[in-house]
């Protein structure tokens, strides 16, 4: 299968896009990475994700798949000769999916609230929420990893990808607001896990450098603060 048959529409800074790229790397699938420009959407994006017009989109031959976790599962189910991304047991799969949904619906939005907080009180409350979430995630990590390195066991899996993709932005948040989020005090397992995740062969080339992401975050903040028309 030539690399032009698989494309990822995305952006280097997007954690959701990273999920797709990590998954393809795990499966050793070559792909073309087509980056969208901030503030404008390509024809290809509008055509392949007409419902949401969002990245990531995985293009596989003539098929377009949207929604990052849907993409990860698709990749896992198509390229079956390589490492599995989802656990094999239905109950373990349910647990992994549960926490992935929690990350997208609760935890990541709570992290975004830190940047949007107005005033110290709001910021403190937002930070507390994220830290409380990390306590839950530490417990999930202990239960899922069963003493191994990753949520997925010996190798990175679905939940590692679902959470790990946020590490870049998490570090930017820690730097920008001078706060420790993944902390030895209440999430020692995750501290070690984060290091190992970022060092993984499937991850290290797609995880953005914190400094580069930090500079980019300032550009985004400026855009956010400017008056905008609703999408």
């Amino acid at each position: 299968m030539s690399s032009s048959e698989v494309k990822v529409l995305g952006a280097w800074a997007s954690p959701f896009v990273m999920r797709a790229r990590i998954s393809l790397n795990i499966k050793s699938v070559d792909y073309e990475f087509l980056q969208e420009n901030l503030g404008s959407k390509s024809e290809l994006l509008l055509k392949s994700n007409p419902v949401h017009k969002k990245i990531p989109v995985l293009i596989h031959g003539d098929k377009a798949i949207s929604e990052s976790l849907v993409i990860v599962q698709y990749i896992d189910e198509v390229w079956t000769s390589s490492e599995s991304i989802l656990p094999s047991d239905p109950y373990d799969r349910a647990i992994a999916r549960f926490w992935a949904a929690y990350l997208d619906e609760k935890w990541f939005p709570s992290m975004s609230k830190i940047a949007r907080a107005r005033g110290e009180e709001e910021k403190k409350a937002a930070i507390k929420l994220v830290q409380e979430g990390l306590v839950l995630l530490e417990d999930a990590y202990t239960k899922c990893s069963k003493g191994k390195m990753f949520f997925g066991g010996e190798k990175i899996g679905f939940l590692d990808i679902a959470l790990g993709c946020f590490l870049g932005w998490l570090r930017v948040t820690e730097k920008a607001h001078k706060v420790k989020l993944i902390d030895e005090a209440y999430s020692p397992g995750l501290v070690k896990w984060a290091e190992n995740f970022c060092a993984d062969a499937a991850v290290k080339d797609v995880m953005p450098e914190t400094d580069k992401l930090y500079e980019f975050s300032k550009v985004l903040m400026a855009k956010m603060r400017a008056p905008q028309k609703p999408a």
């Binding site: 419902v51 949207s66 849907v70 698709y74 189910e77 349910a94």
Partner: protein
């Protein structure tokens, strides 16, 4: 062995109903535990400490939470009868996409379009109509989203079969006109009339009262 499978639900939870339907389709016996959501049981809080919500499926003592996660678990565990998701990875991806669309996009829009206020309500009505077109498209040449049989996407959209009427009545807004959405209207009828689901519908009048109190 009915007690092997328990489902924590409430009288009106549209999410819990998905699981009721799935278990019925699969012929799985289960014990339904009705929660009063204003006074949650300690068992519910123990089984779903993160969200403290229904539905929770408890299978052999192990809890599964989040309705779409539960649907996949049910499909994978009771994989003999009535498959809910297609086998083909792309068809599966599409099914998952549309289920998310129901919850992340359509439901909030319909809520705003019926229970919202002023400008927000009007904007939501327009966006609802646009987004319903996608759903109508999906039904071309099909009886159910799943094809000949009810599937995962039908269960995800199932809330529409009984709630749209309620929300339209409460708000006075008509969202789904037969002339505009003939396939979707027919699907709502077919789903509502599906024999195995006849006993499952929450009481209409009680729902009207509930949603009148939201405004």
């Amino acid at each position: 062995m009915a007690t092997e499978v328990k489902l924590f639900r409430s009288w009106s939870s549209r999410y819990a109903l998905r699981i009721v339907w799935a278990l019925k389709l699969k012929g799985v016996e289960f014990e339904a535990i009705f929660e009063d959501l204003s006074n949650k049981s300690s068992l519910l809080l123990q089984y779903n400490p993160v969200h403290k919500k229904v539905p929770v499926l408890v299978h052999n003592g192990k809890p599964v939470c989040e309705s779409l996660v539960i649907l996949e678990y049910v499909d994978e565990t009771w994989n003999g009868a009535h498959p809910l998701l297609p086998k083909d990875p792309f068809a599966k991806a599409e099914a998952r996409f549309w289920a998310k669309f129901s919850d992340d996009k359509l439901m909030p829009l319909i809520r705003k379009a019926t229970l919202g206020n002023g400008e927000e309500k009007e904007e939501a009505r327009v966006l609802t109509a646009e987004n319903l077109k996608h759903v109508e498209e999906l039904l071309k040449g099909k009886k159910f989203f799943g094809g000949e049989k009810i599937g995962y996407v039908d269960l995800a959209f199932g809330w529409m079969a009984y709630l749209i009427n309620v929300l339209e009545e409460v708000s006075g807004a008509t969202l789904i006109k037969k002339e505009e959405f003939p396939l979707l209207s027919k699907w709502m009828e077919n789903f509502y009339e599906f024999p195995e689901f006849k006993e499952s519908w929450p009481d209409h009048d009680r729902l009207i009262t509930k949603f009148k109190n939201y405004g």
